[in-house]
Amino acid sequence: METLIDNWVLACYVDDVPENGGACVKLGDEQIAVFNFTRRGEWFATQNLCPHKQQMVLSRGMIGSTGENCEPKVACPFHKNTFSLLSGQCLTNEELSIKTYGIRVENGKVFISI
């Protein structure tokens, strides 16, 4: 693994992740969902596991935004629970939430802080 200071780990390359969509990367034993929100020029990273029914699928979900502040979110493909990409809070079921990770892009490489 290519590691920078502060636990930034090379996750993948920019063109590995489809525009306005997500992909899953493997870091050690962990599965992390990386989202390339081209429309907003932003990147996000969260756990890949959907806490609703424990399915490893969030990276395959559709992203979008909601509300007046255009909160970025991802919808789980299974039962369409949606999660804020900023806070990880589930927007459709107060009891659920997911982990989010720091993410940054340099020279075509995507780094995640864990």
């Binding site: 395959r60 979008g64 909601t66 970025p72 949606t82």
Partner: protein, 830 residues
Amino acid sequence: MIKPTIIVVGNGMVGYKFCEKLVSKSSGFNIIVFGEEPRQAYDRVHLSEYFNGKSADDLSMSTREWYDEQGIMLRLGDPVQEINRTTKTVHSLLGVSIQYDYLVLATGSSAFVPDIPGIEKDGVFVYRTIEDLELIKAYAANAKTGAVMGGGLLGLEAAKALIDLGIEDTHVIEFAPRLMPRQIDSAGSGMLQSKLKELGLNVHLNKSTSYIGGTHKIDALHFNDESLLPVDMLVISAGIRPRDEIAKLAGLQVGTRGGIMVNDKMQTSDESIFAIGECALYEGMIYGLVAPGYEMADIVVSQLTGGSKLFYPYDMSTKLKLIGVDVASFGDAFITEPDCRTIVFEDTHKGIYKRINITIDGQYLLGGILIGDADAYNMLLQTVNNKLVLPPNPEDLILGSRGGAESEGAGIMSLPDDALICSCEAVNKATICSSVTDLGITDINGIKKCTKAGTGCGGCVPLVKDLIAGTMKANGQYIKNVLCEHFEYSRQELYDLVKINNIKNYDLVLDHFGHGDGCEVCKPAVASILSSLWNDVIVKQDTIQDSNDRFLANIQKGGTYSVVPRIPGGEITPDKLIVIGQVAKQYGLYTKITGGQRIDLFGAHLNDLPDIWEQLIEAGFESGHAYGKALRTVKSCVGSTWCRFGLHDSVSFAIEIEDRYKGIRAPHKLKGGVSGCIRECAEAKSKDFGVIATEKGWNLYVCGNGGSKPQHAELFATDIDKETLVKYLDRFLMFYIKTAEPLSRTATWLNKMDGGLAYLKNVVINDSLGICGQLEEEMQALVNTYHCEWKEVIEDPALRKRFTHFVNAPEEKDPSVQFEPMREQVKAKW
């Protein structure tokens, strides 16, 4: 400051609700829960759905993590055995002793098992926990006949469950002279009994069982009247017995017939000990329903957090669920003349019985019974509970509201503000209306989230929806079918806009006609419009597709995918069958013949999909679009080529039609069928379009479907030739594609269409809108641009690369996917 410790004994529905309510009000307590069952609290009310495919997880009321997050210590499988009131300590089975400041007993009830000789035999069950259901299910696999002892609410539910488990010969034994003796009168019971008979349930009234026959396992029920009924299994549903054993042992006051006595604060005879739910005896009454239990939980939370809420006798109105016959009773169902006036409506032909009891002066509704049609239940219950003044002709309430929804809607808005709408979560009308008016919430999910109304048994959801619509109307808000928060247009409007402006990708559609970044509702809806208009390869815009469309396969539990090659009309060569077998073997796939006359291969890893399809395409297969809102199958019967009754060659015609419309995307999926004669072996009338051979040609039927709301297709044209039929189909399908709401099947589309079938015929057959030429052209354009999307993928390395689980380790498969063996194949383990 040290937090006071609350120990909750029992992690059932009410025990859980108590925890939920307490932590939402205060974080000032240290909460410890002891549960006897091995799993955390689940929805016992919907227990029977366990037989209809719901898993224990689905029924669970929360997750293990939830307890952790709330700092609640949950000890499952560890019942409390003793309470020491002097030292304020509980002792558990596994040897734990903990001191409490307050103790909450939520131990519920167990099934009452009468003392009948032979009751201990194998094959005799109760119906209360998931474990009970597991035992029943296993035993039922080898049983042919079954009986339920007890014809009450629960007994009938259990009987229906036995039928659903495949016990065709199921009996209900009731001691009383009528069914559901606590809820309905004998006239209602008679009507119910005949309805149940249609469902295959045999009811025996006035029967008391003297002993249960059989050597080790049950083989018959013997009755006091010397008669007997041979059965392979028995489910006892003869009432409930409150679990008061540890309370009794600790010297708390209990009722003579069981139950822990409580006052209106839910305190037992020891003021630091409370009892709630089905174990609590309030004013001589055990409430065997969940709503009063939740109310009790609320009272204790209020008492502990400085409030002063008290419990009042609770409404016991009920509506029977699941059985397939509507049954409801509400208010005072049994009061008779001369204490009231009773109005009865009976229709033996349709099996409807309705009775309402009103005050002598005709002003108020007191209660009633509904059998066969309980649509009016919610509104009638509200009328009783809120003492609404009755209309001049109270019989209108039950005589089938021909005026329809209109008058009922007005009724709902006239309810007082404090009318209880959701009794599970105690949400009143004012709370719902103000969420609409003040918080701008306009859909049921929003209301569920912000008020919790409708999240319990779900029975109030139609009422809540009516309230939302009513409030919006009253506020002068225009209710328009917009796509979602990002588009102020209906699907049809957007379809026309995209077409006229010749726009071909989602981002441009959003830039031109929407705002924000889109979402999981508008993305697939627009994707479907783009596809219906331009028929481009959908995976080129993969991230706006619903998950199944994005990976051209249906995602399943555990995250694997299925592979369904097209087998037009269900006709397949031996060579192709062999290839399917080989591919399935090579990739370890579970294979099954589907209900659509083709073969589904389940359990494929995302990474393997392109290789699997490469082999299938090599052998001449194409995508079956089982994942798309597109044409699925055109089912056929063998027809005149082999069948002695066949009038025409239904297989050839089915293949022709399937090949014509394959790959075409629509607002929802499309299915067709072609039968060779009126015997209808292809079930064409249960499809979006069905064709049946006649002496003179073919009959065309449209807008049918199976699924959750089955509806037969309606006759559209008779004795037409093939060419005319295809022409009508082209027009019909294209008109549907252009005008239906997202995710609405053809039947729903027709049901909502102004003018209905007559209008549709006028448009498609008589060209009343003058658009038929255009419809045909548009359809022909889609037919001409057909492509197998899997072929496009396997031939394009860039598209192929997208089928990986880890982008940084493309060779690796998802390690969380696991299988276990089942009948010489595999199934997903998760």
